[in-house]
Amino acid sequence: MTAIEINNVTKHFGKVCALDDVSLSIDQGELFGIIGPDGAGKTTLFRILATLLVPETGAASVDGFNTLTMMRDIRKRVGYMPGKFSLYQDLTVEENLKFFATLFDTTVEANYDSIRDIYSQIEPFKNRRAGALSGGMKQKLALSCALVHKPSVLFLDEPTTGVDPVSRKEFWLILQKLRDAGMTIIVSTPYLDEVRQCGRIAFLNKGKICGVGAPDEILNEFKDVFCPEPLSHSDEAKLSEDNDVIVVDGLCKTFGTFHAVDHISFRVHRGEIFGFLGANGAGKTTAMRMLTGLSQPSGGKATVGGYDVSTQYEQIKKHIGYMSQKFSLYEDLKVWENIRLFAGIYGMDDKEIASKTDSLLSRLGMSEHKNTIVKELPLGWKQKLAFSVSIFHKPDVVFLDEPTGGVDPSTRKEFWTLIYEAAAEGITVFVTTHYMDEAEYCDRISIMVDGQIKALGTPSQLKSQFGVNNMDSVFTMLARKAQRKSD
């Protein structure tokens, strides 16, 4: 039986064509993946199906109900989990769930069975505010909220972006169970391991459906986009070890009684690409904030480029670059204006800025976008630009905090090409990521669990140490041992 039928749907936003004559049919009980680059029209499609948008032409039906004429029926039987912001950060876990139950005129108790699997995992924290949960837990809560009225169709728009691999695996186990129970699930995701777990997938690009079929077929057909050749990367050790840029010795950070970072020690060599991994809430961001001079350590010692993080943090700031997971350029400035601003901050003069801006943009292939407002660039471009701006002043070290969240594999590969170029110029790269294929690209990696570093070495060393053949398994083995379930 067909659960969802989309016929020739088109939608424009101004001049931009978000969906162009899209037709698709999804069977009941299917776990259907929608993949495609940022700005491909995935969210627009979800919003049309969830009756939040009206298509210009064409029609869509969900569970046999037309999205235009019978939206009330649809809203009763659909669960929708938008990519972000679907929870009230100031309400507790339980209050959030109760609120969503009330919206659908039901109670948590009445439908407890349907959400038991997921909710039991977060129930111990039911009095905690949603804003204080880790990424993985937030997603579980959001899913519980979307399921509390027993929907027959579930729409999930990139539910696992920014979530660590272990939490993602748990999340997908839940989805499998729901599918087995007969629920129709449509999900979009940038992660290939998740794509492979779908029954069928559709590849959406620039508003058009390029292909529908089994995951392997589609990934194979469009392998330029999804499975780019891995970057060749020599495993040889970089430069001499006595030339360390970052030296961390027993660094701590406590918030009240909570040890966010618990005596970590490591060294990063000059010119190295150092992967700093860990589950959501393991303390990565806190550690990085101390190293970048944004936060004072509670104990221990660390130097960056020879400067002490607790006293000489203003000196450190002259010698580092930083790119955060929150997008860090000014969206209302033009491309060249952003470059000019940050170059000016690091003390370059007008002439130098002008000539370097042009050469940078031509290297990125963005020369014709010099006068584009940054807001209008696609996400992947913004990230490449933000990275280039963060190393524009040739810092000793560049800190990258989840720089590639939510981008498709080919764009991520381009991004990593830039990272290699920077490393070749002698810039040390300190990077956090949730993509385990990216972890393999690093010279050395550390894995943080519960505020401590539990593993440190080259990717191949770690794989042989734990007797597995990929980084994903190494990470999963370590992160599963985590004692504290949340941050």
């Binding site: 944004l294 936060s295 929150k326 350029l329 969206e331 400035l333 000019r340 940050f342 000016g344 901050i345």
Partner: protein, 355 residues
């Protein structure tokens, strides 16, 4: 040097904002064109009933004079005082004038005579003002002029002259207080402030880059106000403009520092907006802008002493209306200078790049 790039960025952002440039032009225009008319404390259009028990040419001349005054709406004659009071109870009259019998005879003979003025004092100001206007008409007609009144500085007692310098102060609060506060909290919410914090931009440069653009905007707004008040109302400053601009610069510094202090302690727009709004209402009501400070209770008068707005409005009125020079506003000027020193330092100190 860094400052230049930061300020350039602020101006670009303001210009690119769909709303702000329009507001910078429209706000002073609306405030200057509309508010001076409605914040008028002059009492006009008082309904007047007259009871003439004399009915002579003299009494009739007095009635005509009352009729001719543009402060009153002449509601006609009543046959008796009681009837007139009934009318007042119905709300048809605010004030009653009773001309006694033998009014003209007593006047001619030089005997004391009394015109009774009864006013509805539910609205105290209206009643008192009406009564005093009316007595101004009655007293000269008796041939005696016991008091002479000389209105200094604001000869025609025009309320606009009194209000315009104060309205400029309100505009300065709005532009120099709210905008930098919302600007910094906005950067916090988007996350770009984090990016600035990992660069070598110093606290002082960062804060100055946030203040200076709003200083400039504040002065532009002031200038628009001066041009409008001259073109529309024909009101110009009696004192030197340079002193007024100097005052405005200091006030703008105080207000933008306040905005920055508030934003440094708030994490969301809502918080910053609410606290700023609270401060602004207190400042305005405790400044003597609408109500004279001297008629406030003692404790409130002490409060006005820690209100920079109070000194600013005082000084503005002294210079703008009375034509005072910098020398005459020295106490206010020194007070404002100390406020700006304290607030400015607080703004820089409370901004934390490292915690």
């Amino acid at each position: 040097m860094i400052l230049r790039y930061l300020i350039e960025k602020e101006f670009k952002q303001i210009r690119r904002n769909a709303f702000l440039p329009k507001m910078i032009i429209m706000f002073p225009i609306v405030i200057m064109l509309v508010i001076p008319w409605i914040t008028n404390l002059e009492i006009k259009n008082i309904s007047l009933l007259v009871v003439d028990n004399d009915r002579t040419t003299t009494s009739q001349r007095l009635v005509h004079e009352m009729e001719a005054s543009n402060y009153f709406i002449f509601k006609g004659m009543s046959s008796s005082y009681d009837e007139a009071v009934k009318e007042m109870e119905k709300g048809n009259a605010d004030i009653i004038a009773v001309i006694p019998q033998y009014y003209s005879r007593d006047l001619v003979n030089g005997n004391p005579t009394n015109v009774l003025i009864a006013s509805n004092s539910v609205n105290g100001t209206k009643g008192a003002m009406g009564a005093s206007y009316l007595s101004n008409i009655v007293v000269p007609s008796t041939g005696k002029l016991p008091i002479s009144v000389l209105n200094l500085f604001n000869i025609y007692q025009d309320y606009k002259v009194f209000m315009i310098p104060a309205l400029m102060a309100i505009l300065l609060i709005l532009f120099c207080g709210f905008m930098p506060a919302l600007n910094i909290v906005g950067e916090k919410e988007v996350g770009t402030i984090e990016q600035i914090n990992v660069t070598p931009v110093g606290k002082f440069s960062f804060i100055m880059a946030k203040i200076i653009p709003y200083w400039v905007i504040g002065l532009v707004v002031m200038t628009i106000c001066f041009i409008l008040s001259w073109a529309v109302y024909g009101i110009t400053s009696a004192g030197p403009l340079a002193v007024i601009y100097l005052l405005a610069i200091i006030m703008a510094l105080i207000m933008s520092s306040l905005g920055l202090i508030i934003s440094n302690y708030s994490s969301t727009m809502q918080q910053a907006m609410l606290v700023m709004w609270f401060c602004m209402v207190c400042f305005i009501l405790l400044s003597g802008l609408f109500t004279p400070v001297r008629s406030m209770p003692d404790w409130a008068q002490y409060l006005t002493e820690i209100n920079p707005m109070h000194y600013f409005i005082d000084a503005m009125r002294i210079v703008f209306i009375r034509g005072g020079s910098l020398f005459e506003i020295m106490p206010q000027f020194m007070a404002l200078m100390s406020f700006s020193a304290v607030m400015g330092t607080w703004a820089v100190v409370s901004y934390r790049k490292n915690n």
